[in-house]
Amino acid sequence: MTTRVLIADDHPLLRAGLRRLLAADPDLETVGEAATGAEVLQLTGELHPDIVLLDISMPGENGIATTRALKARFPDVLVLFLTMHEEEGMLQEALRAGGDGYVVKRADEPEILRAIRAVRNGGVYVHATMTRALAQPLPSQNGALAEALTQREIDVLRLLARGNTNRQIAELLNLSIRTVESHRANLMGKLGLASRVELVTYAEEHGLL
């Protein structure tokens, strides 16, 4: 059974190249071409493709917003992003919007075909160099206990975690900057923290914010 493909990209030259590329695979049939998000929705309704090869940067609604609308109206249609964007944030957002796969446009022909097949078979395909973005950060190892801290150090910790500078903390707590600096050094040492971001994470995990 052939797979019905809708190509969605605002560049005619690119659509033509892609069409010729797909034509080489007898299992694939290009049923139409769309240049905007609105056309994607309209043509999906009319042509019932199995899969939409979707660009992200398009005039009007971009590919990510289009995917949300598309999945809401046609939950069975598969979406494979084919995009210039090689940013991890973009990949995450695309998958969150309901995308089934993400390939960059300069992938080689076999990879594009492989991605279509993978998505068609119910998998999720992500371009090899970008899979790192899918890894979840490991839970932090900030295990040390807040009990070791004095009340003053906890006050300083909380204010640092909220983004205050040393001087601001000195004013808020009516201390000298030097005292704040020494509290800060002590509490970081006790908790084994190296920097403000680690400190914020610690405060977050221990309900200090």
Partner: protein, 422 residues
């Protein structure tokens, strides 16, 4: 002629007494005049002191009327200032009870040509006294006056030319005399330096406000330009190269790779990839697509990730409360640029091993902190601030009504904190 001694004596006594009375009266008059002159001089001096106390034109002009009132009694009065293109604006008015400054947009304005008497004062620089305005056929009371009979107009000077005038009115006809006129003119000349300073100050304020508007506009224009060029590079030029790459792939397939063609096509594909890469880098450096498409958090994550790769710094980033609704685009842009500038400073000058970026949103405010463990600098040194582009960062924060705080000292790292209402 024979005159009795008695009569002679009596007459002499009387003449003497009369002379004494007259002398006493004369002395009293002189004393009174002296006293009055002293009082007037005091009041003039007080007025001068009061006038030079402020640079604000409204305050200067209001003060002028208040002090004038102690020297020349009047029922109503206004101070008018000559603006560009012979427009006159009424800056302060005494309405019978108190002196009120008039601020835009309530401040009345009219053309000098609508009032021949005012125009005459402004063009000749000479005062005008009208004993009874009802006898002037073409008299229309200027704004701030009703049907008062006596009217006195005195020009105000600044930098040697007429800068405006004040006009006084009194119910009784023929009220203003030569003494009133003299006092009013004296006060006017006393006021001229204060008025001049106030005018200069006002112009300077207007110029600095204009500069600020222009500099903000410049930032906006630059940002728009970058957005356009980045999009053009990334989407248009980039897409064309990708199409070219597709073409090469088809060529590869169709020629079957004989005669060493495969190797040459592969080479061309590599070259194309290199160009696409550099286009992407260029576009992202101008303005990352994620900033417009995904928001501040994604853009910062991407940017800081790339910095870690190329600078050797340990970059830690944490966002809190940014996952929900997007921030307003100008806020996202400004905060992104501030982080970029601050991190660039860290790379160039701080000799740091790590830099932390914290972005947090809560309770209607957004806070971004950029902190490094580098060599720091003396924040009091203006050269340092200049060099580090801190002025531009602060300007961006202030344009959003926010604040930017920089804390650093030689040897103890640098903290840049920016806070804006979201």
């Amino acid at each position: 002629m024979q005159v009795s001694d008695e009569a002679d004596h009596a007459a002499l006594t009387q003449a003497l007494q009369e002379a004494q009375v007259a002398l006493a009266a004369e002395r009293a008059r002189a004393q009174e005049a002296n006293e009055r002159a002293r009082l007037t001089a005091d009041m003039l001096r007080e007025a001068t002191v009061a006038l030079t106390r402020s640079l604000d034109r409204e305050t200067v002009l209001t003060t002028l009327l208040e002090h004038l009132r102690r020297l020349v009694p009047f029922d109503r009065a206004t101070v008018m200032v000559l603006e560009e293109a012979s427009r006159i604006s009424v800056r302060a008015v005494f309405d019978g009870e108190r002196v009120k400054p008039l601020l835009p947009p309530e401040r009345p304005e009219f053309l000098a040509d609508e009032h021949p008497v005012l125009r005459r004062i402004l063009s000749t620089g000479a005062p005008v006294v009208i004993p009874d305005t009802r006898e002037l056929p073409d008299w229309t009371p200027p704004i701030g006056f009703a049907d008062e009979a006596s009217w006195l107009g005195v020009p105000l000077f600044a930098r040697g030319s007429v800068a405006g005038l004040f006009s006084l009115a009194k119910q009784e006809m023929g009220y203003f005399n030569a003494e009133h006129l003299r006092l009013a003119e004296t006060l006017s000349s006393q006021a001229s330096v204060a008025v001049e300073n106030a005018i200069l100050f006002e112009q300077m304020q207007a110029a600095s406000a204009r500069m600020q508007v222009l500099s903000r506009r410049l930032v906006e224009v630059q940002e728009d330009e970058r957005r356009t060029v980045a999009r053009e590079l990334h989407d248009e030029a980039g897409q064309a190269l990708v199409s070219l790459r597709f073409g090469l792939q088809l060529l590869e397939r169709e020629t079957g790779g004989g005669d060493g063609i495969a190797a040459r096509v592969a080479e061309l594909k590599q070259t194309t990839d290199a160009v696409i890469d550099s286009l992407h880098r260029l576009a992202a450096a101008l303005r990352p697509p994620s900033l417009d498409m995904l928001g501040l958090d994604a853009a910062l994550r991407q940017y800081l990730g790339s910095i870690e790769g190329k600078s050797g710094l340990v970059v830690r980033y944490k966002a809190r409360g940014l996952a929900g609704e997007r921030l307003a685009p100008p806020i996202e842009t400004a905060l992104y640029r501030i982080v970029q500038e601050a991190v660039t400073n860290v790379m160039r000058h701080a000799r740091a091993t790590c830099v932390d970026v914290l972005a947090a949103r809560d309770d209607g405010r957004v806070l971004v902190v950029i902190e490094d463990d580098g060599v720091g600098f003396a924040t009091a040194s203006p050269a340092g601030a200049e060099r580090l582009g801190l002025v531009g960062m602060r300007e961006r924060a202030q344009a959003l009504g926010g604040t930017l705080t920089i804390e650093s000292a030689p040897g103890s790292g640098t903290t840049v904190a920016v806070e804006v209402r979201s």
